[in-house]
Amino acid sequence: MTTAITTLEAAIHTWWADATLPKAVALNSLLGVASLVTGDMQNDDGTFADVPYCTLNRESNSQAWQTNCGRFDSGLLRFQVWHSDHAAGMAIRQAIVNCFDNQEYEIDDVTIESMQFQNDLAIQEEDGVWQFLIDFSVIHKVRVA
């Protein structure tokens, strides 16, 4: 039994894996949706997963406006890609921007009205792994049953 998508993060996962969208297919080919995690990528024993992977977190959420179609919220979504190779990580970063920037998406109870690229940076951690951080501002609506 499949359950309806009711959260923004679940909608992003579905969008990433959507085989009907060419930009999502390109992104999925570089980094599969199985490597996308909401939260952090920590194993049961407290160690972190092997690279590459991507985490998704909502940094802020606030009510944008109320209409007769429902309540729209605005927030900041942060993708963090970890990769041992800089060029490959940059390619994934670009694919994420191509897939989500200035786009809209609708699935089940979630409507993403707009996602706009805000900010990004790349840093190399002490063990040599690269972290690519990409921020998007998002306006979305969740239909309440």
Partner: protein, 149 residues
């Protein structure tokens, strides 16, 4: 009948720019202060007795920090080095302000975004989001006293 039109636009533009600059400056300082306050919760060290051999001889005690921050909370204060190196900068010519950390306290940035081994302890963006309304209001109205002077 003649009408006299006096143009005060230049003076008003100057006052408006001055008001904007003052407002932005106040908002930047406000944000900087609250960033420092966000990382001010202490994780004070405690000396505990140990017995171990080191190159310098037998060590009898060491310092532990028993109250670290939990993931998702702002980092807690040990020595204050990170807190002291949260810096503020304001450029009146633009005008623009920014709050950030010094290069030698780069670990505060790693705590903000997290690394593969350290879970995030957001303090910079979280403080901005928490006080977004006040910062916006200060930026918009903080310099209103400059208008009409």
């Amino acid at each position: 009948m003649a009408a006299v039109l006096t143009w005060r636009g230049d003076k008003f533009n100057q006052q408006l720019r001055s008001a904007t600059t003052v407002g932005l400056q106040r908002a930047t300082v406000f944000y900087h202060q609250h960033c420092r306050m966000a990382v001010s919760k202490p994780n004070s060290g405690q000396r505990v007795k140990v017995r171990r051999k080191t190159k310098g001889g037998n060590k009898r005690s060491r310092t532990i920090y028993p109250n670290p921050s939990k993931p998702g909370e702002p980092p807690r204060l040990r020595t204050g080095f990170g807190q002291r190196h949260i810096l503020v900068e304001f450029d009146k010519s633009v005008p623009a302000g920014r709050v950030g950390i010094a290069q030698n306290a780069i670990y505060m940035f790693y705590l903000e975004v997290g690394t593969r081994r350290i879970r995030r302890r957001p303090w910079l963006l979280a403080t901005l989001m928490k006080f977004q309304e006040q910062i916006g209001r200060l930026a918009a109205t903080g310099g209103k006293g400059e208008i009409g002077t």
